[in-house]
């Protein structure tokens, strides 16, 4: 049998090879696509032709200085909330998995309180902190104080808003970071311990980068959520995007175009964040996938080359 294999002549072309292949047709798919295309065209038409959208007003305001400044403030608040929130969240997550029962309990309680109270309520508390404590002193606990500062001057509105967002975000971030730690195989930590790698380095070099694969998608959700949550800061009369838009439309009465201005900017910022998420995820996928997925740019280039 096996000796036959070597001498067997190349198989003759099968009769099917000379025939033309007709791809299967999917008429229902075409009908559905046509219906959707008409609906999309109608929506686009309505957006352009309905005078109530008032596009001229939209374009007058969308890049106006006061709006751009408001966008910048929204971005600053988001950045502060994310950085401080995830720092706090990481500390809370480490406390939660520590051996010390007091640390565990404090972390759990913090998460419980800050997840339970609506953000807008928390922001109002921070805004009114001066009523609760009109000075803040630094000194020996329960003992004499060295410096006292009026709460109003210590916590300017931006810091109050940023802290409010960060403290709220920290509670959520804690759970996200903890989920990330749990997703890393215990063998990784054990191998690092067996090699004598110092504890801090075990965390930063071995566990955290692998946890990031689980953390990033959920964290990106949270960051986008926080970007939009900054709009609630309007209760503190801080001129972020949503507040600024309201100021302008109460003055001019052009509500819809200004709401569109805000929509445009939230969309734009979220787009940038989503693109960033793709590349961050790709970075942390090193070694976890056999081959990394191509970036949109690489995909475009390969299509170009094929054409």
């Amino acid at each position: 049998m096996t000796s036959d294999l070597g001498t067997r002549p190349a198989p003759a072309a099968t009769p099917e090879e000379s025939l033309r292949i007709v791809p299967a047709r999917h008429p229902a798919t075409w009908v559905a696509a046509a219906v959707v295309a008409v609906l999309v065209a109608m929506a686009g038409h309505a957006l352009v032709t309905n005078k109530a959208f008032d596009w001229p007003t939209f374009s007058r305001f969308v890049f106006q200085k006061s709006i751009l400044e408001a966008v910048a403030l929204t971005l600053e608040l988001t950045l502060f909330g994310v950085v401080a929130g995830f720092l706090l969240g990481t500390i809370l997550a480490l406390m939660r998995i520590s051996r010390n029962p007091l640390l565990r309990a404090v972390s759990w309680t913090y998460t419980w309180i800050f997840r339970s109270v609506p953000l807008i309520l928390q922001l109002l508390f921070w805004y009114n902190l001066a009523i609760l404590y009109n000075e803040i002193s630094f000194g020996v606990p329960f003992g004499p104080s060295f410096v006292s500062v009026g709460t109003m001057s210590l916590i300017p509105p931006f810091l109050a808003a940023g802290l409010g967002l960060a403290l709220h975000q920290g509670a959520y971030a804690a759970e996200i970071v903890r989920a990330g730690f749990l997703s890393v195989d215990a063998g990784q930590r054990e191998a690092a311990a067996a090699l004598g790698i110092p504890a801090g380095r075990q965390f930063r070099r071995i566990v955290l980068p692998q946890a990031m694969r689980t953390i990033v998608p959920t964290a990106a959700n949270e960051i986008i959520g926080l970007l939009k949550a900054t709009s609630q800061v309007y209760v503190m009369a801080l001129p972020e995007l949503f507040y600024q838009v309201q100021v302008i439309y109460t003055r001019s009465g052009r509500v819809i175009p200004l709401l569109l201005v805000a929509t445009f900017w939230y969309l734009a910022l979220t787009t940038v964040l989503s693109v960033g998420q793709f590349y961050v995820e790709r970075y942390y996928a090193r070694g976890a996938l056999r081959t990394l997925p191509p970036t949109p740019l690489q995909r475009l280039r390969s299509v170009w080359r094929r054409a």
Binding site: G187, Q188, G287
Partner: protein
């Protein structure tokens, strides 16, 4: 504690909850010797290995490696428990190879091997990399230095794990069933590395079910059952002329 033995285990007990895993184990390994631990699953072999490098803490009894008590410091008639940092420092003198490799998946092969010498022993990166490449050559993987572990076969991953353990230049190497997670055709390449290490005079403690390997390489074979050492001696004595009925039953079943 005598410094005559590279590994000296005295009267070690270990329980997990109500389950007694080790019930008074003594084990001595001389410098340059290869000791193979045999026994049915659940007999405590892996736990004993993990106790030696203090990944687990013994409930009773003491273990010293290279004449140094693991996990404690003696001051007069008192034993002080060591801090995590000091235990990590002790572990750099013991190489540990896991059944499931536990390579760091997000680091390349070379980064896996140089990580501990750089961060635990504070060696310069350039020096660590030269040494790592030598070790990768020794295990036959010099061309895989910049690959990620997931792109390697199981046998190749385990050889990287051995190179990683060797990078610390440990006094003793511990192997926890190093070939049990491998396809049969890949077992040979890993055992070849172990054989080579044994020949060069590395002190090793190996948990394995490969009786052929034990017969060929081991100086001492130790048979454990239900948390006790049932029998120990030369491979011929334990494998060919077992004194104890339990050893005999085990050897017959595995062969």
């Amino acid at each position: 504690m005598s410094a005559d033995f590279m590994v000296d285990v005295r009267g070690v007990h270990k329980s997990f909850g109500a389950l007694t895993v080790l019930d008074g184990v003594d084990l001595q390994v001389r410098h340059g010797e290869v000791t193979v631990l045999l026994g049915p699953s659940g007999s405590g072999k892996s736990t004993l290995l993990r106790l030696i490098n203090h990944l687990e803490r013994a409930d009773r009894g003491f273990i010293s490696v290279g004449g140094e008590l693991m996990g404690y410091r003696r001051a007069g008639d008192r034993l002080h428990e060591l801090k995590e940092r000091e235990i990590l420092e002790q572990r750099t003198r013991i190489g540990f190879v896991f059944q499931s490799f536990n390579l760091f998946g997000h680091l390349t092969v070379l980064e896996n091997v140089v990580e501990a010498p750089i961060s635990a022993q504070r060696r310069p990166r350039a020096e660590a990399e030269v040494r790592a490449r030598e070790l990768l050559t020794r295990v036959g993987l010099e061309d895989k230095a910049s690959e990620y572990p997931r792109r390697l076969s199981g046998g190749q991953q385990q050889r990287v794990a051995i190179a990683r353990a060797l990078a610390l230049e440990p006094d003793v190497l511990l192997f926890d069933e190093p070939t049990s997670a491998l396809d049969p055709e890949l077992v040979g390449e890993v055992l070849a590395v172990l054989r080579d290490l044994a020949k060069s005079g590395t002190t090793m403690v190996v948990v394995t079910h490969e009786l052929g390997f034990a017969r060929e390489v081991a100086d001492t074979v130790v048979f454990l059952d239900a948390g006790r050492v049932v029998e120990q001696g030369s491979p011929e004595a334990v494998l060919d002329h077992p004194q104890h009925a339990r050893t005999r039953a085990f050897v017959e079943k595995v062969l």
